[in-house]
Symmetry: C2
Subunit: 336 residues, 2 copies
């Protein structure tokens, strides 16, 4: 089955399950809190479109893992909805922490409704996400549900550990490449790893196969982030939708930049001066000369290869293997 | 057994369990996030004292309920630690939402470490709390643990629904007494209700007894809050540790004040003017004349009576009944 065909069937079921989880949690009189969550999830409010809902990559990965690992993906829909709700709770809080005013072309929740209400709405969505897992009892034994709760709680903890590092990096003088890779393994890797791992658990695989799927998700997340870092400096603005060398302009300590700083060469000197749209191409060029582009490309390829090896070991099969493979390629085969 | 004797045995075990849950979650290199949590929990940093840890009322209630309902309280310690961690996560976020700069005589976490780091640390503590429930598996079957997860997730949702109302009230023109009572039933009642309900579940009681213990916790929480509201206006500053009529000065829409506003009388007129330390006693007196003191006292007594009836129906027994009763009285028998 092709990915587009699977998505057309699965995404409406994911959305319906998310809406049902929220609706079950809602108290009859309580409209404004749920209006906020519905806005953030891209279901209502100004400028609603398919794009305002995000790509739902994590729940698709979870469902396709269950299918390709020999399970029935329809028994995993509550878990897929939970993963997407967790992702969205973390976005509400990230936007406050990063002082971001826009997401997916719309106002962020705290800009729309105030910081205190948005912070609290994030906590509400966090709580609601956990309620989603209880719905697995229709299809799965209690032992599996206990495992799912622990896995999601640990994943959220790893996410916050990554976010703690990311926030701390802003004012840190010396951030090493190793610290950076650990940060993204929490911030970007953890939730994708949880998606494939939980999908595999719900298919009833053995611990070894579960580990392979988890490793696949983690390394796909890491590879995706490093490619994002490359595109944030050398990407084509027409394709990325961002300004040229946007990560240099925003002084984001991404992997290529940390590599450049660790060289203590000409790039490092330029970094200490003002960076403007008119001189940013000089920094991007210098960074490439000092080997940061090749370095980041090598790291991205290593993570991709580790992911592909893990997938080979996991050995996805059946009618969902094709869509699973297509989803993997959509993450790893971007131009850079 | 007297409450003091039980507390002397139980509180060190609750603290040790909380520390162990945090320690298990901590990654080897990750010190600063855990330093923040340890500070907030009153274990380290400036001005550490027994007082900086709070009174641990909720975990004591949970353990005494297990004991008085015929269970072994030592099998509930992980749940008691979880409840206290959940309470503390919500305090970290409340302090940000309310812009509070002090808690228990110390700087709040966001003042000490920045808002973004504190918001994220609250999320980390939320995640860690859930990991505490997994530790119940030493003593309890998976079915019970699944029930505990759902109960805690629902409780957190109810807490956030209450907090949403509380924040919204600040800028609302018309808040009714009914809306207020619903707000405190989330914000103050939910976690105490969860403490007694979960304590009863872990004792293995039947659904009816479980419901009685839950009702006891909920109504004790409500009664406590309404008495707090009375003390916030007419309490003796020497006993409350706050300035006289502090809730009038801070324009907090507490129960007596909402009652007064609903009368649309002289108090309501005074409320629309400036309130200062020199005229606040006039408002407090006028509010009493208009019946707000008697009204709030009646409401507090009704909640207390409902709690006592529920406790009588739950019929706590054995050697922990005395300490349970003492803890109930410590909440209900304050001077006002």
């Amino acid at each position: 089955m092709r990915l587009s065909e699977f998505s057309n069937t699965a995404i409406p079921k994911i959305e319906a399950e998310m809406k049902d989880i929220l609706l079950s949690a809602k108290q009859a009189h309580d409209t404004s809190l749920y209006d906020m969550l519905s806005y953030h999830l891209g279901w209502s409010g100004e400028a609603v479109s398919r794009q305002s809902q995000g790509k739902r990559i994590r729940p698709l990965f979870l469902l396709l893992t269950t299918g390709a690992a020999g399970g029935d993906w329809e028994t995993s829909v509550s878990a897929a909805a939970t993963i997407e709700l967790i992702h969205n709770f973390s976005l509400i809080h990230d936007d406050i922490e990063d002082n971001s005013e826009e997401r997916r072309g719309r106002k962020t929740l705290w800009v729309r409704d105030s910081m205190p209400l948005a912070l609290n709405a994030g906590d509400a969505l966090f709580s609601i996400s956990f309620l989603g897992l209880a719905r697995l009892e229709k299809f799965h034994p209690n032992q599996t549900i206990v495992t799912a709760y622990s896995l999601i709680a640990e994943t959220c903890l790893t996410l916050t550990q990554g976010q703690h590092m990311d926030i701390s990096f802003e004012n840190a003088d010396n951030v090493t490449v190793d610290q950076y890779l650990e940060m993204i393994s929490g911030k970007t890797g953890a939730l994708l790893a949880a998606s494939t791992e939980l999908g595999a658990i719900l298919a009833g695989v053995n611990p070894e196969v579960r580990q392979h799927y988890k490793s696949a998700g983690l390394n796909l997340g890491l590879a995706f982030q490093v490619v994002d870092d490359i595109l944030g400096i050398w990407g084509d603005p027409q394709k990325t939708g961002k300004s040229a060398s946007s990560d240099l302009l925003s002084r984001k300590k991404s992997l290529p930049i940390l590599f450049g700083l660790s060289r203590s060469g000409k790039f490092s000197e330029l970094w200490d001066q003002e960076i403007t749209p008119s001189n940013v191409h000089i920094l991007a060029g210098q960074l490439k000369i000092e080997g940061a582009y090749d370095y980041a490309k090598t790291i991205a390829r290593q993570y991709t290869q580790t992911a592909l090896d893990a997938i080979e070991n996991a050995n996805p099969g059946g009618i969902y293997a094709e869509a699973f493979d297509e989803l993997v390629r959509s993450l790893t085969q971007r131009d850079y």
